[in-house]
């Protein structure tokens, strides 16, 4: 079972936090801080599995993480999940984000947190892996978005909406696409 999925940047600011077990808010923040602490200390070419950590890493739990550009993707899992499988799942997740956002970068995750939640909900449900086929996930997410938009834009066309949302100013700074920058380990799938 997956206990939590966290995405935070190189400075520890959370970009997505999804817990599949209930903690109160202070504990959640503590967990994020502690996980960031553990993960940021890791060297460049060590393995992607971490044990230890008081709150979320008990004796049975491991942290499996991947570092893409400025973001850490951390999954906290127990022993019923295959470790290498989860590594691949993280890869599938990032590739799905890439397809949905077109060269996703950190800013996309910052400004569209709700969309990221929706995509994640199609992949992992209740702490268990639901769907791993990227095309299937994207189809479902698109259909749901269409439904949502049809409630708001009975008259606007879809393409107009796209142009509107991408005219957001201030897209500078962390513009580096997530997938193209120095992956931690030359990942092979």
């Amino acid at each position: 079972m997956i206990k939590a999925i966290l995405i935070f940047n190189n400075h520890g600011k959370p970009r997505l936090s999804k817990f599949y077990e209930h903690y109160n808010e202070d504990t959640e923040q503590q967990i994020i801080r502690e996980t960031f602490h553990l993960v940021s200390k890791r060297d460049e070419n060590v393995c992607n599995f971490l044990e230890g950590g008081m709150l979320i890493g008990g004796s049975d739990y491991k942290l499996i993480y991947r570092h893409y550009a400025t973001l850490y993707f951390v999954f906290c899992v127990d022993s019923s999940e295959s470790e290498l499988g989860i590594l691949d799942l993280i890869q599938v997740f990032v590739e799905t984000l890439d397809k949905c956002f077109e060269n996703v970068c950190e800013l996309d995750l910052i400004f569209h947190v709700d969309k990221v939640h929706n995509i994640l909900a199609e992949m992992v449900m209740g702490g268990m892996v639901l769907e791993t086929n990227m095309n299937e996930i994207i189809t479902q997410v698109d259909a749901q978005n269409k439904m949502e938009k049809s409630e708001f834009f009975p008259f606007f066309s879809l393409s107009l909406y796209r142009r509107l949302s991408f005219s957001l100013p201030g897209r500078t700074g962390r513009h580096r696409p997530v997938l193209q920058e120095r992956p931690l380990v030359p990942y092979q799938l």
Partner: protein, 792 residues
């Protein structure tokens, strides 16, 4: 505008805040606005407000006032509002909040909605935060959805069912038939969900496990389809067809095949095929291979397959990718108990991993190395472990130290080596050892009288170098106090002689007493040692007297107490001083596992346990044994309290005969109730015999004693008995006397079983016997229909 723009404006505002204080201000203003807008009944931008609140919640600010809003949004007919409402429910609500009960009805309605996305929202939320009551209410709905025609809904319903089963175990029965049907689906998502559901059902309920064993052929068929099939673009990940599903099925096969011959046979071919055909150059291939190896090692596979599996693990261990090495070590850890020799072959690689820079790999390598230490490799392994100790990361030090101690205790080739090793650990990592190390070491030293001279010289030198490691200082002070005369004599066979004068010794002890690094208990040790030296040295007694009197006014009350007492000893009871301060008596070795130099330490311990219980397995004989203990301990007791008053440990081997002598002494006390109870042999196969004798305790109570013995030429390990009785009979199995049967009937294992048969049904018992002999596991079942002495 689009639903998310107000959210984005707020995010931009938060990000432009330059300090934490500014950010808090922005967020507080926003929260106040949101709260005001929640209070208004109808509002266009409701979903935006909730989305903003959730963002703020992620940053760590309180958001509990949004809970009722979530409930309201979930009930709204609009999809966008429902979506945000459900997301809020997952993030803000949990079973402890009352608001979670309010959404049960909404979820029920949404589960019946015609739109599949609305249904999926409800399913998702129920799976994430459904409480036990909600699960009970909605379980029938989920069961209905499991049989729906829409595969999107089916796969979500399957995982929701898993969550329900986890919360309320009894509902597993409800989902079992539907789960079985789902296995015939073609859609991989549904298959995946079905396999997870069946895994969960099997794990929590052994009856379901039996039932689902019948699905093994179906699962094998599906796997074969995945492995052999050609390229399918939908599910292909780097050349392997749907590795996630393959891994899940392998895991389920593992659970189904565990301890079951028939199921394991059905899987053998498939596992062999997967193991040989999977491409191991990519991570996905390795994931599938790894799962296959774990499955092979856990079921009753044939030996050729096991060898293949261990070889694959060995290959993993040599892989360049650290991830692969890490998981190889995890799996080796799991099998080191059962296939010890196979893992020993890779010891060299594992020991090399101790020097890896990665902390996770080091941790795994440490645990494995400690498990691999044996009598034959103790010296080389200890060298590696000691060098690891000096360079290991701080969080692993105490684990390493205690592991080294345990290994040294079990397999030390000689006393001197043992003491050297402990001293080495104390000098390197003295701050990280456990508290009982000091008394244990002292006990060890007192028990090896021939090495006293060597030990005290070595400790003196260590003390001279460094007084910061408290355990070491404590042991050193104690030894100098006890054996100071040996130290001053100067000669020692095992080391080069060094001349130590009385002044030097007293200087060292005084330094310890006065140093700020010494803890209060260390100072106590040092003061006592100084006092003891007063009878062992000849010239500087006055100096000792002055040291001791100084501490008579020390602020530490414990130290002051000692100093005043010693002062009194000097002044008023000088004639008794020599007697009071003579050598301490030897502490008895009572803890288990003290088998210095004996590589069969474990079997010795087992034999002890078996010998003690070897007396007739009768209540009466047990009483006699108790009497034996009271009479002064004819056997070294296996509990840690020494027998009353006896300080000399009697030789272990005479347990039986001493007992016999005392029995004779008791003569008339020998209970006449010792009638040989009728015993009947219930199992006799391959040299293993189990006999049963029973005794009526009361009208409905019965106590049965099962005795097992082994007449083959090889030892048997892991011997366990399990019993099953008819439903109305209550069964209580006591702990067995041991679990290994030495060869040729050298010792027996007995186990008591207490039955209560209030309904006086016809008593039958089914016994399952399992053990490991010569490396292979054997399991057998036998039914006992008649019980001797009962007249059934």
């Amino acid at each position: 505008m689009s639903p998310s723009v107000p959210l984005q404006e707020m995010i931009r505002a938060i990000r432009s805040a330059r300090t934490q204080c500014e950010e808090r201000g922005v967020i507080q203003r926003e929260c106040a606005t949101i709260r005001a807008q929640f209070r208004q009944a109808d509002n266009e931008g409701r979903s935006h407000n909730l989305a903003k609140l959730l963002y703020v919640h992620m940053l760590g600010y309180p958001a509990h006032f949004g809970q009722m809003e979530c409930v309201r949004m979930i009930a709204s007919p609009r999809y966008s509002e429902k979506r945000v409402g459900y997301l809020g429910a997952m993030m803000l609500l949990d079973e402890k909040q009352d608001a979670s009960l309010l959404i049960t009805n909404s979820i029920k309605n949404d589960l019946a909605n015609s739109n599949q996305y609305v249904q999926s929202l409800a399913l998702c939320t129920l799976a994430c935060m459904g409480s036990a009551e909600m699960c009970r209410d909605l379980a029938p709905e989920i069961n209905r959805l499991l049989r729906a025609s829409n595969s999107y809904i089916k796969k979500k319903a399957a995982l929701c069912a898993v969550h329900i089963v986890r919360k309320v175990q009894d509902l597993g029965e409800l989902f079992a038939p539907s789960a079985r049907c789902l296995l015939t689906e073609k859609n991989h998502g549904v298959l995946h969900g079905a396999v997870v559901l069946i895994t969960e059902l099997c794990e929590c309920n052994p009856e379901s496990l039996e039932r689902f064993r019948k699905t093994v052929p179906d699962l094998v068929q599906i796997m074969k389809g995945l492995v052999i099939s050609g390229y399918s673009p939908d599910h292909d990940v780097a050349g392997i067809s749907d590795p996630f599903l393959q891994v899940r099925i392998l895991r389920l096969l593992r659970i189904l095949g565990h301890n079951n011959e028939a199921a394991s046979d059905a899987m053998n071919d498939l596992l062999a095929q997967v193991a040989t055909n999977t491409d191991s150059t990519k991570t996905v291939g390795n994931a599938v291979l790894y799962e296959t190896v774990l499955t092979v090692l856990d079921i009753k596979s044939e030996s050729g397959l096991r060898v293949l599996a261990v070889n694959i693990l060995g290959r993993f261990l040599l892989n360049n990718d650290r991830n692969i090495r890490y998981i190889a070590m995890i799996s080796l850890q799991k099998i080191v108990g059962t296939d010890h020799n196979a893992v020993q072959r890779h010891r060299g690689t594992i020991v090399d991993c101790l020097k890896d820079q990665d902390a996770s790999v080091k941790r795994r390598a440490l645990e494995l190395s400690l498990a691999l230490v044996s009598a034959s490799n103790i010296r080389s392994m200890m060298k590696e472990l000691l060098s690891f100790l000096s360079s290991c990361p701080p969080e692993l030090r105490s684990q390493t130290a205690s592991g080294i101690f345990i290994a040294a205790e079990r397999y030390a080739p000689s006393q001197r080596w043992h003491i050297d090793t402990i001293l080495h650990v104390l000098t390197t990592a003295g701050g990280d050892v456990r508290d009982e190390t000091v008394p244990n070491l002292i006990q060890l030293i007192t028990n090896t009288s021939e090495l006293h001279c060597y030990t005290v010289h070595k400790l003196y030198r260590a003390l001279h170098n460094d007084i910061s490691q408290q355990p070491l200082v404590q042991v050193a002070c104690w030894c100098i106090g006890e054996y100071g005369d040996l130290l001053l004599r100067g000669e020692c066979q095992e080391m080069e002689p060094v001349q130590v004068t009385e002044d030097d010794v007293l200087d060292v002890l005084e330094v310890v007493l006065q140093s700020h690094m010494s803890s209060p208990s260390t100072r106590g040790f040092a003061l006592t040692a100084t006092m003891k030296l007063s009878t062992r040295i000849t010239e500087n007694v006055d100096r000792i007297r002055s040291i001791v009197s100084i501490y008579g006014s020390c602020i530490d009350v414990e130290l002051q107490q000692r100093a005043v007492e010693y002062n009194a000893l000097f002044k008023k009871y000088d004639h008794m001083r020599a007697a009071v301060l003579e050598r301490m008596p030897v502490i008895e070795k009572n803890s288990q596992g003290h088998t210095n130099g004996d590589s069969t330490g474990e079997t010795v311990k087992e034999n002890l346990a078996v010998k003690v219980k070897q007396a007739e397995p009768q209540q009466a004989a047990n009483q006699v044994c108790d009497l034996l203990d009271l009479l002064g301990g004819s056997e070294p007791p296996l509990q840690s309290s020494p027998a009353l008053g006896s300080t000399a440990p009697l030789p272990i081997g005479t347990a039986g005969t001493a007992g016999g002598d005392l029995l004779d002494l008791l003569g008339g006390l020998e209970p006449t109730a010792i009638m040989p109870a009728p015993t009947v042999s219930v199992y006799d196969k391959d040299g293993v015999t189990v006999t049963l004798s029973c005794e009526k305790q009361s009208d409905s109570g019965l106590s049965i004693t099962l005795t097992a013995s082994n007449s083959t030429d090889s030892d048997i390990r892991g011997f366990t008995l399990q019993a099953a009785v008819p439903k109305s009979v209550q069964l209580h199995m006591k702990a067995p006397s041991g679990d290994s049967l030495p060869a040729r009937g050298a010792a027996k294992v007995t186990q008591m079983v207490v039955l209560n048969n209030p309904n006086k049904v016809n008593l039958k018992m089914r016994l399952r016997i399992s053990y490991t002999s010569q490396g292979s596991a054997v399991q057998d079942t036998v039914q006992v229909d008649s019980f001797p002495g009962l007249g059934h």
